[in-house]
């Protein structure tokens, strides 16, 4: 029998994973996904309590949160886009320059792993040996 503590445990695990991810990752997208993960942990909590009490309040709140999360996702993505355009990077550590004057930098930002484009982006023409495109290692992702 799946009882309330099981749901709560899953919710707590989701929240914890999201939290750890949010604190430890520097890529904006990943951080955002982690934040979503935490949010979903909370939603699971609400649903579990709604079911436990036998009311629809929990589900109603869950729906609200999903809606708000959708909006938030739109906003966050738009923000990331703007930041990327400015700095050609999604590394949140790059923005530590906005710190207070006179405070030394906390992170030594190192380059992200090189981005290797997909070797075969399109399907080869039938009956022909596919051409191997030259593998080039591009500049690091961040400018």
């Amino acid at each position: 029998m799946i009882s309330l503590p099981h749901f709560l445990a899953i919710g707590a695990i989701l929240f914890g994973l999201g939290l750890i991810g949010f604190l430890s990752r520097r890529n904006f997208i990943t951080m955002f996904l982690c934040a979503e993960l935490m949010l979903q942990g909370v939603v699971l909590n609400l649903l579990a309590f709604g079911r436990y009490h036998g009311s629809l309040h929990g589900q109603a709140f869950g729906l609200f949160i999903i809606t708000v999360a959708a909006c938030e996702a739109g906003l966050a993505m738009a923000l990331f886009l703007v930041l990327y355009k400015r700095g050609k990077s999604l590394d949140s550590g790059d923005w530590q320059a906005v710190r207070e004057a006179g405070v030394s930098a906390t992170l030594e930002t190192e380059a992200l792993p090189a981005y290797v484009p997909d070797e075969s982006p399109t399907l080869p023409v039938a009956g022909r040996i596919p051409e191997q495109p030259e593998v080039t290692v591009q500049e690091p992702f961040r400018a």
């Binding site: 520097r26 949140s92 405070v103």
Partner: protein
């Protein structure tokens, strides 16, 4: 607005001319025409002198009241205080005007040569022009605030000229001292002006104000307060005890300045003020006796100090203080005998003193010029062969100052002594005080003759001694400096005799001034005595001749051989006392200046303390910020961690509480 060709119009033009001269001289300085800067000053003074002398001669004869008024519009008007540009020319102011411009002309001629090649040539003549203008304004102003304006103007010019060599610390200090000490007196003057303004029915024109006070006399105490306040101003400006200390120090300025401002004209402003407000003093015999007493104290004190000074200019400075004391003694007699005699004696002495003291100062300037700016009488001597003209004119000045018979100083000093003697015999309740002061005045007259001739003999007699600062070419001064000396010497010789004893002209002339009548009227009202008139007294002339001969003779016996001075053992302490100016400066330094400096230092320390306290308080936010600033490190993760930790603490508290 008066017609320009009437006597009044000419007088006003004479007042305005020096201002034009001042501006033109300043312009010369601006246009880099430094060498021409003396021309506007000399020309404007000379034309002003011509105009005012012409008016004086035109109006000299006659019996009618001499009193001309001009009103040139409003200066300012606030509530009940209405201050017009109002001028009044009567016998006293006309005489002062002519005297000031005449002497200023010759001193300017002397200066043109004396100051030749000086860096601040244009500045010198410009300020001198401003000075003469202010002085003329002072003597012709009918409005009491206009008079104060002139009064402050001459004070300012005195400050600027004493501090002419402003790069020299002693000159700067002397200028500051002169300004601050006279300022003490000016506080009294301003209070007095407002008091008489209030008592005089809120009139600001002196004639109406005085008339109002004489017609509606206030209480004795109020009148005495007002008179003493006005006298306080005069004490400051005319260097009377206890505020005389600035005048000897003012000798730091160029010598012609000492001659013009600190001997002949500005320092007599106090005497003029008291003459102008004589009816008020006539109503208050108590104030008069204080004036006489202060004058007597000053005269004796300064004469005593002058006895042992080695600096020729300082001897003359103390003698000026002493002679001003004589004038105040004369003015104070108005309380016991008629004010007309008192005013006549004081102003007459003022006039003669202006001539011979300007002459003496210019003579000392001439000596200084030849001796390479050395003025210490121990360093030179026997100059009568080197500088014959200076010697002769200086001798005439000295004789006049000493009161040698028939010279100008003799007649005027005689008049003051006579007035004092009469006051001692009058029915006044203070007669015995006047007798005491008469004795003081006689002693002072004797001392005057002595110290004047001590200085004369030490400078011009004995072995010829020339300081090495003169670089071996000690010579008689150029002609431009000798002409003023000769003119002033003629004045010192003649002005006394021509003006009073033979013709009685000045006495009659003064009778025509309304202020003298008003004063006599007030005197009658206050004392129920009938005012008399001045008469020449042979006894008095004999006494003063004896005093003069005694002083001159004693000096001749002691100093005929010139320096160095030999002081008998018994006189040493007295000589030290005199040489050190009775330690008055030291006394003021210890009792007034030191506590003030102490208080100032304390205030400064306290100010520093308050300032550092404020800085300390302003440091607290910076300190807190310095602690918190590293938190703002620009990392999103760090902020998130902060939130999480905060949440964790919050939850821990909630959980722990719920389990308790």
């Amino acid at each position: 607005m008066p017609e320009p060709m009437t006597p009044l119009g000419l007088c006003l033009i004479a007042v305005a001319l020096p201002l034009v001269g001042c501006l033109l001289s300043a312009l010369c300085g601006l246009l880099k025409l430094n060498k021409l800067a003396h021309l506007p000053a000399i020309l404007s003074f000379a034309s002003a002198a011509t105009l005012s002398t012409f008016v004086l001669l035109t109006l000299a004869k006659g019996d009618s009241n001499l009193s001309l008024f001009a009103d040139l519009g409003t200066w300012f008007s606030v509530g009940r205080l209405d201050v017009p540009f109002s001028f009044h020319v009567d016998s006293i102011s006309l005489l002062m005007l002519a005297m000031v411009t005449f002497i200023a002309t010759f001193i300017a001629i002397f200066s043109a040569s004396y100051m030749h090649g000086d860096e601040g040539y244009a500045r010198y003549f410009s300020v001198m022009g401003l000075f003469v203008f202010s002085m003329c304004l002072l003597v012709t102003a009918n409005n009491i605030f206009l008079l104060v304006a002139g009064w402050e103007g001459v004070g300012l010019c005195s400050y600027l000229l004493v501090g002419y060599y402003y790069a020299k610390p002693s000159a700067a200090a002397a200028a500051r001292k002169a300004f601050l000490v006279t300022r003490l007196g000016d506080v009294g003057l301003i209070l007095g002006v407002f008091l008489v303004w209030q008592m005089g029915g809120y009139h600001t024109n002196i004639d109406r104000l005085i008339h109002h006070i004489v017609e509606h006399p206030p209480t004795d105490a109020a009148l005495l307060t007002a008179c003493l306040c006005l006298f306080c101003g005069a004490v400051g400006k005319s260097a009377q005890f206890p505020l005389y200390v600035w005048l000897p120090d003012a000798m730091e300025g160029p010598t012609p300045v000492s001659a013009l401002i600190h001997a002949a004209t500005m320092v007599t402003a106090g005497v003029y003020l008291l003459a102008r407000t004589a009816p008020l003093f006539a109503l208050s015999p108590m104030a008069q006796i204080i004036v006489t007493a202060i004058g007597g104290t000053t005269a004796l004190l300064a004469a005593f100090i002058a006895l042992a000074q080695y600096d020729l200019k300082r001897v003359l400075a103390y003698s000026t203080v002493s002679q001003l004391g004589f004038m105040f003694m004369g003015l104070g007699c108005g309380g016991a005998i008629a004010p007309n005699i008192a005013i006549l004696a004081a102003i007459f002495h003022l006039l003669t003193h202006a001539f011979f003291k300007a002459l003496l100062f210019l003579g000392s300037g001439s000596v200084m010029h030849a001796m390479g700016n050395v003025i210490d009488m121990r360093k030179f001597g026997g100059l009568r062969k080197v500088m014959p003209v200076t010697h002769l004119t200086f001798l005439i000045g000295s004789l006049a100052l000493a009161g040698f018979p028939l010279l100008s100083g003799f007649w005027s000093k005689d008049m003051i002594l006579h007035a004092l003697q009469d006051a001692g015999r009058s029915r006044s309740p203070f007669a015995f005080i006047y007798t005491g002061i008469f004795a003081v005045a006689c002693l002072t007259a004797f001392l005057t003759a002595f110290y004047t001739f001590r200085a004369y003999f030490l400078t011009f007699w004995g072995e010829e001694k020339i300081p090495h600062e003169a670089h071996g070419h000690a010579h008689e001064s150029p002609r431009a400096m000798l002409i003023p000396l000769i003119v002033l010497a003629i004045g010192a010789l003649a002005v006394g005799a021509v003006v009073d004893p033979l013709t009685h002209w000045i006495g009659d002339f003064f009778e025509r001034a309304p202020v003298v009548h008003e004063a006599d009227h007030a005197f009658e009202k206050a004392t129920n005595m009938v005012p008399g008139h001045h008469e020449f007294s042979w006894t008095m002339a004999g006494i003063s001749t004896l005093l003069a001969f005694g002083g001159i003779g004693l000096a001749a016996v002691l100093y005929r051989k010139g320096g160095p001075e030999v002081v008998p053992e018994a006189m040493r302490p007295l000589q030290a006392l005199s040489l050190n100016k009775l330690y008055v400066d030291e006394l003021y330094g210890a009792t007034l200046v030191a506590p003030a400096e102490f208080a100032a230092t304390g205030a400064r320390q306290f100010d520093g303390f308050v300032g550092s306290l404020a800085r300390l308080i302003s440091f607290v936010p910076r300190l807190i910020a310095a602690v918190l600033r590293p938190l703002q490190n620009g990392l999103v993760q760090f902020y998130a961690l902060g939130m999480i930790l905060g949440l964790a603490v919050f939850l821990t508290v909630v959980v722990v509480r719920s389990f308790r």
